[in-house]
Symmetry: C2
Subunit: 254 residues, 2 copies
């Protein structure tokens, strides 16, 4: 199978390297900055270009891995060649291809990538959407070359995935910022909290988060909760109260 | 050094085993359930008792590792023998010993323990408080036998540590429950989120949580935030809004 990667960012770089290692021949890398295209292309034996007009037409699989707001422009700027075209975005609906490609789909690896750290794709969940069963089958086969965890997901499901990731990662990370502020007030470094955070995450290998919930709200220990609230500033007080109330409500039936 | 462990729960069990491995001779284990005392004592070559009156007086170091609301009773029920007495609680002030012991302190390992899984103490932070510099030095020496990370912390600092842990672990875990609910609505299992959660935690090895914050609120992407809020029920809407607002406020200056 011959593939072309359009993009040279974190996702494109990790995908291109992993696909090459899995035996896919990547023949070309596009980036609007030639140096970036060349940097990636050089590591995988591909050619580099910074011109959408120069993208080769003879590949089987075209992977558009550029910023969300640039995907439509890429699709519109390159004429269809009848090959299979995918984008790798969690947020862009499959509609972006409608009327502009014959065979198309979404090939979304849900992970946070960086060029500096090589991602092991084996456990990265891929979410696949396609224009037809045949295309779905073809995209799924490629995903299975990289990962054990390949799911079908509609654009609507991907939107919910994104919301879930905001709660699970963006918001959880912000709570760690708040914890760091509280520790700083106590003259302690944030990293004293890391072993406990890691253990909390490790528990998710064996239990659902609802099953492993602990703490004053879970125990309905109103004396401790009040003593905590009394020590917090208004912003943290509000977050403490809302989350404690929600824990008590969610676990009412337990 | 000869030690006695009063308690046979998750903390007592892990501490007793780790101290034994580090060369401390634990001569006796107390539990109000003899079977539990014997189960732990048997693994470390100690004697077991279920009677506070039978606790031996000849040890150097007495570790009270029972539920918070039972600590005062243990201290009051056993007469002082002039040895060094500590409790292992994050929440109980050092005052519980005042007037009842000559040499005393707090020896608090901040981690979530379980009897089934042996804890590696090397990175577990210990927080030490003591009646005097000499006692502090003695307790710190014991903590250093187990861990590289030993801190002094007053009872007030431990209270703040607990608040920080509620945000960093209890509340973060609840956000994972919410994420699981959102995924379930989309027909997806919770564990698709685990690789992304692990990566979010791994970033904390290199960056502060404030530095590694990402997501729609961080980007001030109000279109995406509104589209998420529109898809959530009232309880989740409130949490989404409050946390997004707090992220925008916290990172105003960035």
């Amino acid at each position: 199978m011959k593939a072309v990667i359009i993009g040279s960012g974190n996702v494109a770089t990790n995908l291109a390297r992993a696909l090459t290692a899995a035996g896919v021949e990547i023949i070309q890398v596009y980036s609007h900055t030639l140096g970036n295209a060349a940097a990636l292309a050089g590591t995988i034996g591909a050619k580099a270009t910074d011109k959408l007009d120069d993208i080769v037409t003879g590949a089987d699989f075209y992977i558009i891995s550029v910023k969300d707001d640039a995907i439509a422009n890429v699709v519109e700027s390159i004429p269809d060649n009848g090959a299979l075209w995918v984008h790798t975005s969690g947020s862009t609906p499959i509609d972006v291809f409608h009327g502009r490609r014959k065979h198309f789909g979404v090939f979304y690896p849900m992970q946070s990538f960086s060029k500096q750290i090589e991602t092991d794709f084996a456990d990265v969940p891929f979410f696949i959407e396609a224009d037809s069963d045949d295309t779905e089958h073809a995209i799924t086969s490629v995903a299975r070359m990289l990962s054990r965890r390949v799911f079908k997901a509609t654009s609507e499901q991907r939107r919910r995935l994104h919301i879930a990731a905001v709660f699970a990662c963006n918001f959880a990370n912000h709570l760690w910022t708040i914890a760091g502020d509280v520790l700083q007030e106590a003259g302690l470094p944030f990293d004293v909290m890391l072993p406990l955070i890691r253990t909390t995450v490790d528990k998710l290998n064996r239990l659902t988060p609802a099953e492993s919930q602990t703490g004053p709200a879970m125990r309905r220990d109103s004396k401790i909760m009040q003593s905590h609230i009394d020590m917090l500033d208004d912003g943290k007080k509000l977050i403490y109260t809302i989350l404690s109330d929600d824990i008590m409500k969610r676990h009412e039936q337990d």
